[in-house]
């Protein structure tokens, strides 16, 4: 079975671990082997949270530099920071809603320019899907659903061996009832947002 490697980067509290769990559940129901790894010791202290998911016949749970098929970034500067995990055939999906690190507020760094950031990623990888996931999460009804928006975009690319139905079932089993409608709406909005990128590319 083909091996597909996915890296997710986020800032503590953005819900990437839950998104990873849902992908894991969906893979289980699809009968696809998956190995995941996460680093989250300092997550609640404002640090970076990274998960790696390896689908298919591999034993490793982590992904070396250059070996990610997809990089999913919940925060644009963190996406850029993880770019060395990609190769020229990688697809990058990123939210464009910045969460500036505190170092920026105390003048110990400059937040990268978003246009330049996108240009850089686009020039080195196969495809960039970039949009403001926070806005879509708000539109769905809850800023905490950013993770579902990005999950929608991820599934739309069709690179993972997971179908929309399988992931939606996983979302249903892993979401508290009162958040379910918002989460599913957020997923659909992210899916549609990513769809526009494939249409855009086709029309060019």
């Amino acid at each position: 079975m083909k091996i597909t490697r996915l890296i997710i980067v986020a800032v503590g509290g953005q819900g990437n671990l839950l998104a990873s769990k849902m992908l894991g559940e969906a893979a289980l129901s699809a009968g696809i082997p998956v190995h995941m790894s996460e680093i989250h010791g300092m997550a609640q202290r404002g640090g970076v949270v990274e998960s790696s998911l390896v689908f298919g016949d591999a034993e490793s749970t982590i992904i070396s530099n250059g070996e990610a098929d997809i990089l999913l970034g919940f925060e644009p500067s963190e996406t850029l920071r993880a770019l060395n995990r990609c190769n020229k055939n990688s697809t990058v999906i990123t939210s464009l809603a910045p969460i500036p690190p505190f170092t920026v507020a105390i003048g110990k760094g400059v937040y990268p320019d978003l246009d330049q950031l996108q240009k850089l990623i686009r020039s080195r990888t196969c495809k960039l899907i970039a949009f403001n996931a926070l806005e879509l999460a708000k539109q769905a009804g809850n800023i905490m659903s950013t993770n579902m928006v990005l999950l929608g975009a991820l599934i739309q690319t069709n690179i993972l061996p997971i179908t929309t139905d399988q992931i939606k079932t996983a979302i249903k089993t892993k979401t508290k009832k009162i958040f379910l409608d918002v989460n599913l709406k957020a997923f659909d909005l992210g899916f549609e947002a990513a769809l526009k990128f494939s249409e855009f590319k086709a029309s060019r």
């Binding site: 680093i39 989250h40 010791g41 749970t61 190769n87 020229k88 690190p101 760094g109």
Partner: protein, 621 residues
Amino acid sequence: MHKLLQEQTGAKIMLLGNESIARGAIEAGVAFATTYPGTPSSEISLNLFQISQESDLYFEYSTNEKVSLEVAAAAANSGLRTLCMMKHVGLNVAADPLMTLAYVGVKGGLVIISADDPFMFSSQNEQDNRYYAKLSGLPMLEPSCVAEAKEMMVQAFDLSEKLQEPVIFRTTTRINHSSAFVDLGNIKPRIVKGHFERDPFNYVTVPAVSRNLHVKLLKNIKKAALESEASALNFINGDGPLGVICNGVSFSYVSDAVKDLKIADKLKVLRIGFSNPLPENLIKKFLADCLKVLIVEEGEPFLEEAVKAMAQEAGLTLEIKGKSDKLFSRLYEFDPAMVRTSIANYFDLPDRPGIAVSTDDLPEIPARPPNLCAGCSHRATFYEVKTAANEMGLDIICPTDIGCYTLGFLPPLSMGDFVICMGSSVSSACGFAKATDQKVVAFIGDSTFFHSGITGLINAVFNNHNITLVILDNSITAMTGHQPNPGVDMNNFNLSGYGQVKIQEIVKAAGVKHITMIKPFKVKKSISEIKKALEYKGVSVIISQEICSLYAKSIKQLSDRSFYITDKCKNHRDCINEIACPAFFLDADQVKIDAVACVGCAVCAQICPENAILPLPKKQS
């Protein structure tokens, strides 16, 4: 019902490595479990703590790892299947009981988990605890993946009972914090009450007894070697003249490399899962069948040195390498591509070229270091001690300790000058105070104080050192995920039947004459109280009491009231420059407060020179 208690034998579920280990213990019929929390082991104990609340499993958070192992030693010698878990550096604390418990042995199975942390994701060092197995003479098992961890845990209990010795179960972060599918097995019934057979001539380790017990231990090591030799946990994959010997997660990377490089017919892999004692005959036979061998192990050359010695004994002269400048480092952790490339280079095989995009010319991305949370009481205390010392013109040294508050060493607080291990703040303060004329102010958290700060404090009183100890009491073990400690009100966990130890009473009983209680969110009052403590010659203790804001939020004790910055702000930026709460951000060069992040501690409002920070009007509910 807790998901790890489900009886559905054969069901496949997705588990975190630490959940898989906990499930393995449950399937083995573990009846008694002790720990002191420490990443990357924490979720094992968290799950067992939860399970103990709905079953007859006994679980305790002990005051430290030494206590935890001693409690476990008694339970196991009363015949119960017992699990004692800790992070790698915890085993240093428990090393004293470990060494002699190996002489004494156990009756019921005792498994000791050492969760090592290569790369130091959340630790002060990356020591390789495999040497503890060698040092103590105890058998050691090491899983290579999440699913195997569960199966191996059951085998560890069986092995411990068979050999009547504790078994060390050694993991690394990438086992603890990886997830994969796990097949559930049968749960053995728990036997929760034991009986201790008095046998002082085998249990009371006076020299005359220990001389016999050491003989017994050496016999047991021989028996364990036979077990290792016959164990299915040491196995060979593939075939060919080239050989790799590996352990733990490295086995996963090696397996992927063999597939990637398509060399299953050229290279055979000896996976060592039972790693002390090593299967000497198996290894010698493996070496004899190889032209060249590479040892793939993270950390120290534990296998490498042993394998080379075995080759010498067997009169074999083949090339054996592992750690070297051109191959593997003793530093940090491995990754799949690194292992693949090293295998290709060492055996002269074609490798897949590196394909990572170039990132040399990327703009500098601002660092995102972890930070004390918005509304963290430690921030307030650090600011107040710093201000008090500055106003008194004191040149201070701040030995600090292990917990969230270690982060106080970062600018702009910069309150933290020396840390080596749990409890070292107060004892190293004693040394600094005698060796220098500088004023010493040490910081320690509540859980760390109970863990190993008390003895240092008593030392300070007895030897009359001139130190101030600040105990940052946020009423929980915060860093590792809000575990209880002896100072915690267990009603917060909806649990009864626990005692509660007051830090103030301990400090008083230790003979400290100058004790100050402060509420750190009252800035002015705290600073003036701190000054009095700093003036005192001798041992003074400041207990700064305020609940962890994250914990308060999780138990719904937080009176959430956000603050905002009014247009009186003249951009002095004392708030950002002095206390650096992550709720602040800059918007068009003006400081703003993120109302979602702000928990309303009001510390910034008290230090703003323009009084420009005010509470938001209460939300209408």
